[in-house]
Amino acid sequence: MKSVRIIALRQDRKRLLEHLQDSALMQISKSEKSRDGFNRVDLSSQTQVFERNVNLTEQALKILASVSPEKGGMLASFKGRQEVDPDEIGVIASNSKDVIAVCTRLTELDKKRSDNAAEQVRIKTQLAQLEAWQNLDIPLNTTETQSTAVFIGSFPTLYTESALKEAIAAENPKLCFETEIQHSEAAMTCAVIFVPKSQKQMAEETLRALSFAKPMSPTSKIPKTKAERLREKSERLTRETEEATAAIEGLVEHRHDIQITQDYFRIRTDKYKVINGLDHSKHVFIIEGYVPEEDCEKLEKLCTRVATCALEFWDAPEDAPVKLKNNKFAEPAQSILTMYSPPGRADIDPTPVLAFFFYFFFGMMFSDAGYGVLMVVATTLMIKFFKPDKKMRNNLKLFQYCGVSTILWGLVFGSIFGDAPATIYNYFTGANGTMAQMLPWPTLDPQKDALLLMIVSIAFGLVHILVGMGCKFIMCIRQKDWGGAFFDTGLWMLMLVGFAVLAAGIALSPALLTVGAVIAIACAVGLLLTQGRKSKSIGGKIVGGLASLYDVTGYISDLLSYSRLLALGLTTGVMAQVFNMLSTMMGRSVVGFIFFILIFVVGHLVNIGLNALGSYVHTMRLQYVEMFGKFYEGGGKEFEPFSLQSKYIKIQEDK
């Protein structure tokens, strides 16, 4: 990685930045303050306009999706972005005004729909309130006639006509009145009460004592007419909503344009944000950032071609971002590494090692040739037909390689959809063959040779851990930390080898046993002598040496952790076998055959889902905990070049 400073004329700013963005060669660093003698250009108002447009288009697309979802479903997420010629950007830019107008119209239509929905809810409650008064033939807000006072309202109690009369009479025997009950239900009686005008005051008090209440929304219309009006209004609103929906549907054809325009504004926002962070003088401006070493020349050529400028390169500081560069075999595993953490300044890039062990262990855990073939075929087809973007392509590649490894391990374990070939053969012939008899090569049955396979798993684990420590060794050497390399790492590596020889000796020959024991003891003594070297006192040195030997428990638990290679491999095989067995349960008949196919397909799909996930997660864990724990520090930053960050379109670089 190199640091770079570009000084160019202000008049070339637009052209230069556009080309930098297109080429994605450099990462532009931002600083809070401008240096002396330079100023910042404030373009935040334009940036805000662009951002608002991005939001508006996002909203518009959401509205369109709610009316007519985009076709393609799950598989669409694998699809690569549409490629667009750089020349078309001008067209997109000139159309953007119209597209934004469409988006505004969409949001208006949508707002109308939601307003109407809210209004209709209000109408509904009003109608429910009017329901009780539908037989009343005077307006609800009537209070008096020429000679009588009229009270329209409700009591919170259920009354019959006579009961109500009694209740009022009991409250105030002096009152002359007439009542008419409009509606009565469990805890409500709606009634009209007439009293002589002279007794209005008295009547009000009496009624209040009986908790009489006037209607919530008295209208000057007769209730029936009012209800009629409201219903008409509601129908009109429904119609309007339908019209709005239809209008939105009519705009679906603009979806593609909206997406493209959104990307256009997104790109421009990015560019303006960069300009906001650049130092300008009266005539020139300065861009500072990072560029990968191999791209320096390209960058220089590009800049001098499009602008009058001066470039300056120097070695990047230690906290510069990192760009991972790997061959085709290892590249797919980069995402696994960055998911953990990009390499820090002291780290070596462990991707190639990681990639190899990732494929290897995944295959060993998933270990079924049939499933492996499915993985390889599915990923190959997806890469071929969907033309996915680089990131998705690498993810698919990862599983393609894992699939190859899965096939190989499946053949070693003699597992092709579990014991499907034997099961199917037996199903149709009634024979009693096993996979081991059918396959021409010798297989290792995890069920019968579990102990052997566990030893093999732990042996692979030992290799894995030793490779991890080897990386640490190299890192220490590079930093000229000789003690760290030979005493802390080297001795332990040798000790683990000694233990391995010792273990092999127990099984094979006493001679190896002695050799292994000697190596282990020698290393232990070495550790005792060296591990306390950093402490000053004699006592500290002795305690440090002894304490370091306790680390052996850590290595043992790390190694035991690799028994999951056996456990998950076995799980896949046994589950597959169980489904095969279940599928043949209904015997040989037409129904039995349909049942066979059904259980076979569903069972294996379930098994693939469960165990692919398990294998992925546990492989990752073995890398992250057991291997990375030995050497990897991480904490670096990823190289994020100033580039076209678009969601829907991909602008081809001009060659």
Binding site: A567, M620, V625
Partner: protein, 157 residues
């Protein structure tokens, strides 16, 4: 009398106890995950991974149970003697109990992992690795049960 009863008891214990552990673990993780998904459904993939992590114990228990069935005369193999039956039963306890408690514990870890991932997607791999740390104990229990179960038919007890 032969050891069939105890062999079957062993198969049931292994499958059921480990299954309970996984069911509790996955259940509590799924509850939390659905809470997160109600806010942001785009996290479905990550949530699914974290939710399923405590599910392996049940599989381990089931495999031990299945291996007992295929070697004790139910789905193949010879009728076990009394001693063998008791041995099956004893061997199944490792994954049964180990799976039960590690499943529940892993479920709790998964709940925290989900909460962490809900805050920031970048935490996902750390959460995932931390949750798998619990799994090693279920794994050890499984290996013990497994190694014993496959040896029992050849034992003269």
């Amino acid at each position: 009398m032969n050891g069939m009863f105890f062999a079957l008891l062993g198969a049931s214990l292994a499958t059921a106890l480990a299954g309970i552990g996984s069911a509790k673990g996955v259940g509590s993780a799924a509850q939390t995950a659905m809470g997160v998904l109600s806010e942001d459904s785009s996290k479905f993939g990550k949530m699914l991974v974290l939710t399923l992590l405590p599910g392996t114990q049940g599989l381990y228990g089931f495999i031990v149970g299945f291996l007992i069935l295929v070697s004790c005369g139910v789905l193949g193999g010879a009728m076990p003697t009394m001693g063998q039956g008791l041995a099956f039963c004893a061997a199944s306890l490792a994954i049964g109990l180990g799976g039960l408690f590690s499943g529940i514990a892993q479920g709790k870890a998964a709940v925290s992992g989900i909460a962490m991932t809900a805050k920031d997607d970048a935490n996902f791999s750390k959460g995932m690795v931390s949750v798998t740390l619990v799994e090693i104990y279920a794994l050890l229990a499984f290996i013990v049960s497994l190694l014993v179960v496959i040896q029992i038919p050849s034992l003269k007890i």
